[in-house]
Symmetry: C2
Subunit: 404 residues, 2 copies
Amino acid sequence: MTISPLAPKDFPDMPNVPGIRIATAHSGMRYENRDDLCLITMEDETRVAGVFTKSLCASAPVDWCKENLQYGYGRALICNSGNANAFTGAKGEQIANESAKAIASILSIPKDHIYLASTGVIGEVFEPIELTKHFDQMSESLEASGSASWKQAAEAITTTDTFPKGSTAKIKGTDAVVVGIAKGSGMIAPDMATMLAFIFTDINISQDNLQKVVQEATNDSFNSITVDSDTSTSDSVLVFATGKSQYDWDENSEAFEAAVQLVFKDLAHQIVKDGEGATKFVEIEVTGADTDQAAKKIAMSIANSPLVKTAIAAEDANWGRIVMAIGKSGEKANRDLLRIWIGSELVAKNGQQNPSYSEKKATQHLRKDNIKIRADIGVGNCQATVWTCDLTERYIEINAGYRS
Amino acid sequence: MTISPLAPKDFPDMPNVPGIRIATAHSGMRYENRDDLCLITMEDETRVAGVFTKSLCASAPVDWCKENLQYGYGRALICNSGNANAFTGAKGEQIANESAKAIASILSIPKDHIYLASTGVIGEVFEPIELTKHFDQMSESLEASGSASWKQAAEAITTTDTFPKGSTAKIKGTDAVVVGIAKGSGMIAPDMATMLAFIFTDINISQDNLQKVVQEATNDSFNSITVDSDTSTSDSVLVFATGKSQYDWDENSEAFEAAVQLVFKDLAHQIVKDGEGATKFVEIEVTGADTDQAAKKIAMSIANSPLVKTAIAAEDANWGRIVMAIGKSGEKANRDLLRIWIGSELVAKNGQQNPSYSEKKATQHLRKDNIKIRADIGVGNCQATVWTCDLTERYIEINAGYRS
């Protein structure tokens, strides 16, 4: 497997989060020669917040997590890669329930404080013992979180990812931290490329406030990326706050939000940079829209257009395709007020090509790894930014060849 | 250029429509060695109806046609391929206006009865004379419509199409006919693959009734196909009824509707069969939905999913991707009531894989050229059928390589 050309050079140096311990293991359910099971435990009083797929065919682990959020505390997270436990019916619920029960018993914690995530093939059932038989040993090998164990965990949760994804930020003015790991490589293939992100902090915060911060940061990060417009049955963002630092949310709310946003955005960008077949990282900014929702819908219409994405792959400044994508979004737009930039080059205004437009300059920008496209809709003051990658033959190769 | 493996064997034998004459010419604006201009004239009293792209950045010809529909009569249609005259601002309006003025003067007909269609590159302006200089000679070479001239016209309006598209049907119980030509090869690439369909009949019908028939038939044909989810700035369906037969709509309404639906559906299917890179023609039927709109949205979610389309290309019975596409549609669904068929093989029911499912049988069906996927949502009695093609590396090759 070739590592994405857009991958960061190294896995970041990630600190211990007080109260967090990590173990990984090899179940052998799908992958040879690598760990595919991850157990992360949190000390008591750890608050939890979550955002999940809007799919109406959500996986058993997603249903499980949603249900448990009402109890407010998170003591353990189990994640397996290779099988999504999605569309597995009553058997799927049994797998979730028995996994949680086993961990609860081993660690002597309430079942309602256990969180589950699964990523992999949809619709294949298996016996819970395939997972639970590893839990004893994993609980014995739990280690304090730290750079090496974060990387191990980030690797264990991957599927078709070509690199492990981690990010960290200090909460300004404190010694507390935000640390996150994520996986995802199509946005979002239901086989092996579900998006999962697990974030940990030692700040002291109520569940309500944590949920608000997470929801807002998700909108501007994980909910603003697309690789192929497909949405998984298993997408999950889970955030755990141990409260083991001396710092309270009340006095550090802005710094905490900033750190969470930084980590979320960094992880979201890494997922796009590992997009199946990606050779370009593309930022699409829409300004001058009627509403924020309209701005995002237009930006996503551009980001999801196969024709825009193939043009970017070809380094072809084919801006007519951007006009097309704006036009098809269905949102309020005005052909004659619309302006479009590729990089810093203004390509279109007043309902036609900018007279001083230089295709050469636009093409030069498209030769870079990091592409920026901006559209000003000209009808309002609202804006949105989303991120995507290009669409290459490699995407088809991966997805037309993968399972069989 | 390789002809699509899904192309019909021959262009159909198409009859003369009384009152219709045809001429084609070579403008040389983009294509060498082939005609790229088409003039079709209709005798007086010809009623016209039209359905157009919903894009908010519609082309100058689309704006022109929409405006003229209020006058009710169609006397001439000019179509050029190679340049879409879209996003061309005031110059685009001038091109449309001068083209119509020139034809009006040559044929001595009102400018308001002239219809225009352009397909090709977006955002490139040109001088109206590039088109109008050919009109004199074209008007002199007009011939009665018939099999040879219909084929000529169908070829002149193509861009990246790999075969010309025509279809015809008799209106049962009469000697009157419905004849149509169409072009389109991505649904719908803004460069060279806009969808255009021009349909002609000699039945006698009011404009209001014609518009109703056309709108309804469009919903179940041209508005139920997708190749790549992209919508052109130029999509146009124009229907002309000369009234030169002795048959009135009043006494033949059902037979006329049936013939129009037959021709529309046949042309729509031909467009999908010429989908860029297509190797499979796919029918997706959704039943048991809450509303007809929900059924169509779910069907389109499956039809537009790159992951479903790449799985079909690979002949991989990866039904988890179908579950994913239903789940992401956002429409009411119930995981445990959902049933999914590949061909006649029931793959999923009761929220999990059908115990007697045979992957071998599903795969056998996927080896065919014509694929059928059905999903019963299990929450209501409404249904929709849409058509698409698979997604192959060739699609990327065509669209990442095309313009430059």
